[in-house]
Symmetry: C2
Subunit: 909 residues, 2 copies
């Protein structure tokens, strides 16, 4: 531990700098840095984090002794810099201080702060006198007592409900007949100060300290103490922050924007946070405190003339009125404005990013209170990065790293017009299942959706929940709303796949299919009524709300170009139709990572043939039914392989259990029996025999192909014939046949034998051959555990992290809704593992599977095709385990491309 | 590779010995060894396994050249030893040879054999002449052509159905009007030889080789070739036998027991294979071939006088008749008998185990053809080991290692009387779900079982399948028969737990509950009819079949004592009642590894309180219902803790999903509503809301305790109050509270906090405290993957390998019956992983979990409580990962104790 414990900053000088975060904490290091680059920051000093450790080890007296003389010296420097006097007896303006915590990393709201320190019965009068604002002085004093009493002296609500200070305030308001705190007169505030002091004495047995030095030591120690409160410890555990780090204490001069017409306060942005445009902008108020700007009681004024004129135009204020009543800072205080403008330039240059800064003008002097990287919209994020890159402020890698993948999503979907939204009425809220904005007329049945769409209507499909039979209806609808189901319900997964807006699990919605209405509380929405959905927030609006479409060229294209340059993984898409494949290709997908053949099984004639196969009593019967499916499947595959010509297309063999293709209710069973010309009993008893207690762990995946090899034969033939046909047309089809749900290498071996046998037959029959791969989905824990064996047979692995998560956690996606919300709420889980890949557990299997697989097969191609393939943190994880590619739904392709590039850059560091 | 390729044996000499298995193969090394210890074995020689490799690399000509002169020399030695001449022209008896494969490890039936080699048109006449048995000579010749034609010359059935040699035989039989082969006269056989030669010529284009040397080289090469047949390769892959090992070839003189009254053949055992008694015994036939002894056409005679007398008594044959018609070998050929007796002694001493030997007496000379360790019954196995130990033949470890754990099971359950079984009629066969024999009158309902039992009837409960509601009925029944469900169905698991005979999944059984009958085909069995079950074989018998009870003292006790001495792991039991705990304790269990509290929830009043809790709308309602359960649970725990006084008792908190406690059919729901005094609708909608798609992956285990902490509170209180009460009575209760279905350490942490809090409360209230542990079941893959974290909180791990297997494989136990049989049949799986722990996959998680757990908590106690805890190979695996204990159902305790001891001994090697 060093001998120096306290670091001064102020007046363009500082003993610390930005690199000293560990010693001075984040805030302290930043305050020092700003001073060094000439930003006018109120002076003060930082007590180091090392002192916190001493405090925890040796206690208060030892610590105060240790740093006392240093603190006294730094107070003196602060007084000089601020031209004020701590505990002034009238010789100067009283120096009032803020005392704040400041750890290495931000722990917002976790530790204590004291403001207005230095106030007592004498200084309050000086402040009143020198500021010419008695009310302000006494209000600051009473706030100080209240805050200090709470934080330092431990005055707490006795019954856990009513703060004793607030009780006094309420009493006085009642006695005076006031509604608002702002009605208090200076005299009232003086009364309150006396009452507050009494509260402190009554509660603690001690007098409120009048000596500013006593106040200061009390506050400093209280900040140190707050490092070890229960909530701070809990927060540290949650975020893995070591207790040894400790917190620094920042003591800084207070400045006030409400000390007359020569004072002001405001916020400013170095660029436009909404559009990204490179213009300085912001708002301010004269003779006001920061909270006044936020509170909205007074109309804030613009900082620049240009901004002010734009505002006036929007608000319908004449130029004369504007100048007179709402002048810009540029006009009202031109010198200060010039200094502020220079400062914002300096800050943006220094931090190489858009800054959001708070400033106060106290009696004609500009002070910067805070600067930080500004929040921004998705499109602003993209524009700023591209322009800063052009301006030479940042390099390409920084431009890429500064993109928040999730925010990019905003750019890929329609959004509601901001103005239209202002007057829209929210009727309920569900889960933001698939982003974007959609508006249309309510229909309740997939058939109706198609029908209405065919006659030119825009529709939103509203369902209790969706099932594979609703696919076509979902496809034609502008959006989907379901009453049940989570973020990974059928509706949600399929909608994301289609890039279609969806709100799922809107629990308040009661669907009445018979009456063709849905209710939310007392509100009834009928078939044909317009509604609008915000799939990014989960909000559901009454009526039609206007939307705007996304713009994907320009800056967005530039960012994607950069991503392409730096990425190591490539991105594929999960697509079951040529259309989806094309959409994804336009977004930059290089192949298909998952084509689910069973989605093709539901349409028209096909489902009949599928059911015929299921009902067949023997292999011969099954083969007969499969022969009907063959040409249809072949056609599907030709379409998809053609859409992805030249890129690999991973086609998964039949995966779901057969009972998914049979109806459950008796009426539909009878219909099915009629269609197939068999007695209804036969259908019923077949459906019963297919019933499973835990279908997720049942007769599905390659277990089907291994019990009914003829299914695999038909599918392999359809794929390979399609590919050969395309090759004959001069195309370059690259099928990769994926065997699902492998748990032992023997399962794969038997399936591969079938596929290779059929391939040889097809090539012989057609007199033409193509290259193809046979691989497997790694989605069963045992497959990952024995991946070295599996890779001796597999030519590629695709991690099916949806199922892998289900089995690694033992959570059924369909049922987890009963406890997942509680688990997230109690902090048992940090994220829904179906949305964000669990790197600790499931990720361990992914890594093990990848490493073991490559250990026995160096040429093994490895990718991921679970939902996680489009989630940024999960994509980055895939980068760390050196996957070849990730695959995601078409509309997530740009996000995955970005995350993949970021992963490569971060790993390269 | 050495210069010596061929090793002679014969006449008390041998160039090889028992240690040369790798070079000479198992059989070759053994033949050499027997010669060395003075056993009269027909002479011959072994061509080494190295030659097989040369053959595979360099082909036939090179190989024959390499070993030709050596083989010729060894043939000479063989001729001398056997006093015969290979290819004799009359100067001596013709030397006939057998040519057999012999790899390092036995590959039964996988490779080729040729017998009677050396026969041709000349030697056949010499054999006929010298043996005085023309028929024998020609029959041997035609057999030789048939075998050689098939194995060496590749004469195969053309259409894959009819062996061309057999066709000739059938033709001749038809022409002659014969029924049996034995009716052929020597002339017929001569005809057949000619026809066979023609078949060979027609099929192969070659003449059948008449030169014995050509025959020999053909046969030797054919044996080498058979190393690489498809079935041999498949077998090697299945058993992980490297192709490089190769096979040796054993060429040995043939001897014949059917060369007149001075010849004989027989089998003998050095001890009694059925009882284990130390008496020499066996059977023989004069002037016969080995197959005659087995065929049962002639009545075999006993070898010893004592055995012969016992036989005569049983068969009702007078002593005079016996002596005249069925004399013992001891009487018929006293000198030979003496030599045989001395030889069997020598062999048993040499191999230190009971031998099963085949011998032939050719013209007054004894030859031993084969000796091997004899198969034996479970009780013989125990008795032999204990007696051999007493006799100083083997040491304690060998005695233990020689116990087959599964065979020990025979000793623990009643079995059918052998005699009674002979006249019993099998009506169907199911799975051998829980071993033992049972007989009783058929009932179809659990209630009836209780009622009938109360009035003194013996019953067998027959069900479509069982559910937890049948528990009491299962308990009182002598046995259980179900039509559905596999080896791990409810009925099977529960029955094994009770040590109760059970046959499950008897698919032919059609239960008609209404008619109170079951059908198998046309046979109808009515309520009240007697049936008998063999739970060890799955057979179901008509009527009452007499049973005998097991005897567990004496030799069995001695083996258990030895197990205790050498074991490192101890054995606990899975028990839910004081009775089961006591049974297990009597079998040597040291504690309970799994006490399932939910089994207690079904009885009487309890289920009402449980359902009340489920229906409760809020925590308060749940607490009210739980308060009713508390005293009952406490009483249960007192009973169990007392029965296991002084040993640890692991009690698992509530595990199954709540819907297991509610009825599914409407009638029962209405009844439940009435009982609880709520509208039927409330029950119905609650049941609906509890429905899960995949209950195995649903809202169960600690997910219940973490959503309804009050359940955990009640159970923790019941356990701890029970323990404190017992301590006050001077007992030594040692509860270990187990939190089920942990996937993340946070789940355990929250549950442990509750348990510890309740413990402190209880100890304070009672003024007494006890030691207890809190740990968890490791049954979710993620728990094993993150076991280091989990062990920071857990004081013990218990591997729940049932669920762990389900999730690691993604197999639902309840549904896997649809594909597991096919998977076992196709060789995708070698064992049912629910019966035999999958060491490769699931075992990897068990090992990882154990190692990671101990890495962060050195004191962690580790055990297993899945069904595998009673399966010998799985128990041994638990030994290799250094578990502290295994836990199994009471009746498997001795088996687990034995396997644990064997594991320790094997690991110690």
């Amino acid at each position: 531990m060093s001998d120096k414990h306290v670091y001064f900053f102020g007046d363009g000088k500082a003993e610390g700098n930005a690199s000293m975060k560990n010693l001075l904490g984040g805030k302290g290091a930043n305050l020092a840095e700003m001073n060094l680059i000439g930003v006018p920051v109120p002076a003060g000093f930082t007590i180091t984090t090392e002192v916190c450790t001493v405090y925890n080890d040796k206690g208060r007296d030892y610590t105060v002794d240790l740093i006392k003389s240093e603190v006294e010296a730094k107070i003196k420097e602060t007084e000089e810099a601020m031209n004020a006097k701590f505990g002034s007896k009238g010789e100067a303006f009283p120096l009032l201080l803020s005392v704040r915590s400041g750890a290495r990393v931000s722990m917002p709201g976790m530790m204590n702060t004291v403001l207005n320190l230095g106030m007592n019965d004498e200084t309050v009068k000086l402040v009143a006198e020198k500021s010419g604002n008695e009310r302000f002085a006494w209000d600051s004093y009473r706030r100080f007592i209240q805050m200090y009493g709470d934080v330092v002296m431990g005055v707490e609500a006795e019954d856990g409900k009513h703060d004793p200070f607030e009780i006094e305030i309420d009493k006085l308001k009642e006695a005076k007949g006031y509604e608002l705190d702002t009605e208090f007169t200076p005299e009232d505030l003086k009364t309150l100060v006396e009452k507050f002091k009494k509260v402190v004495h009554d509660r603690t047995g001690d007098d409120f300290p009048t000596n500013p030095w006593d106040q200061l030591w009390g506050a400093v120690c209280a900040v140190f103490d707050s490092w070890n409160t229960e909530r701070a410890i809990y927060y540290r555990q949650m975020h893995q922050i070591p207790a040894e780090w400790g917190t620094a204490v920042n003591v800084q001069a207070m400045v006030y924007g409400n000390m007359g017409k020569n004072s002001a306060t405001g916020v400013a942005f170095t660029r436009d946070a909404a559009t990204g445009e490179d213009i300085f902008n912001g708002e301010y108020l004269i003779d006001a405190q920061g909270e006044d700007v936020v509170a909205g009681v007074r109309t804030p004024q613009e900082i620049t003339v240009e901004g002010s004129r734009r505002w006036a135009k929007r608000a319908g204020v004449s130029e004369d009125d504007r100048k007179a009543k709402y002048p810009s800072l540029e006009e009202a205080m031109p010198e200060i404005y010039k200094e502020l403008d220079a400062t914002q330039q300096k800050l943006e240059d220094h931090y190489s990013d858009m800054q959001d800064l708070e400033f106060t003008i106290q009696d004609g002097k500009l002070w910067i209170l805070q600067t930080r990287n500004g929040k921004r919209t998705g499109s602003a994020m993209v524009r700023m990065a591209v322009e800063m890159l052009d301006q030479g402020m940042i390099d390409e890698k920084t431009a890429l790293l500064r993109q928040e993948a999730d925010k990019l999503d905003e750019l890929l979907h329609p959004v509601f017009e901001k103005k239209a939204l202002e007057s829209a009425t929210v009727i309920t809220k569900g889960l933001p299942a698939s982003p974007g904005a959609a508006t249309g007329r309510v229909v309740f049945f997939a058939n109706d959706a198609e029908e209405w769409k065919n006659r030119g209507e825009e529709v939103v499909l509203v369902r209790q929940e969706t099932s594979p039979e609703d696919l076509k209806g979902m496809h034609v609808a502008n959006g989907i709303l379901t009453a049940r189901g989570g973020m990974t319900s059928h509706a949600a997964v399929v909608a994301r796949g289609m890039g279609k807006c969806c709100v799922s699990g809107a629990g308040d919605v009661r669907v009445d299919y018979e009456g063709r209405t849905f209710k939310v509380g007392d509100r009834v929405v009928k078939e044909g009524d317009w509604i609008s959905l915000n799939g990014s927030t989960g909000e559901v609006y009454e009526d039609k709300v206007a939307t705007v479409n996304p713009e994907l060229s320009g800056n967005f294209a530039k960012i994607m170009e950069l991503a392409e340059k730096y990425t190591k993984m490539y991105v594929r898409t999960n697509a079951d139709t040529p259309h989806d494949a094309q959409v994804a290709r336009d977004f930059g997908a290089k192949g298909i990572g998952l084509c689910r053949t069973e989605h093709m099984f539901f349409e028209g004639e096909r489902i009949i043939a599928v059911r015929e196969m299921i009902l067949a009593e023997d292999e011969e019967g099954r083969r007969k039914a499969l022969a009907k499916l063959l040409p249809m499947q072949r056609e599907d595959f030709e379409g998809i392989l053609e859409a992805m010509d030249g890129f690999g297309v991973t086609i998964r063999l039949l995966d779901p259990p057969l009972h998914e293709f049979t109806p459950n209710d008796e009426a539909s069973q009878e219909e099915m029996a009629k269609e197939l010309g068999v007695p209804a009993d036969v259908v019923k008893s077949k459906v019963e025999s297919l019933h499973e207690f835990n279908p997720m762990l049942g007769h599905r995946g390659c277990r089907l192909g291994n019990t009914y090899p003829e299914i695999t034969e038909m599918q392999a033939r359809a794929i390979l014939e399609a590919a050969v046909n395309l090759k004959k047309k001069g195309k370059d089809p690259r099928p990769e046949i994926m065997v699902p749900l492998i748990g032992t290498v023997e399962e794969l071996k038997l399936q591969k034998e079938i596929i290779d046998r059929i391939a040889n037959k097809v090539f012989e029959e057609k007199g033409e051959s193509i290259d193809y791969l046979v691989g497997t989905m790694i989605e069963i824990p045992r497959a990952a555990l024995t991946a070295d064996k599996v890779a001796e047979v597999a030519e590629f692995f695709s991690f099916g992290t949806n199922d892998l998560t289900q089995m690694t956690y033992g959570y059924s996606r369909d049922d987890a809704g009963k406890f997942l919300p509680i688990y997230l709420n109690k902090g048992i889980l940090k994220n829904d593992p179906f949305q964000v890949l669990d790197q600790e557990g499931v990720g361990q299997l992914v890594q093990m599977g990848t490493e073991k697989g490559r250990s026995s097969n160096a040429k093994l191609k490895v990718g991921i095709c679970g939902e996680h393939g489009g989630e940024p943190s999960s994509v980055k994880f895939c980068g760390t385990v050196n996957m070849d590619y990730v695959s995601c739904s078409p509309f997530r392709v740009p996000i995955a491309r970005l995350a993949a590039a970021q992963s490569a850059i971060e790993l390269d560091k």
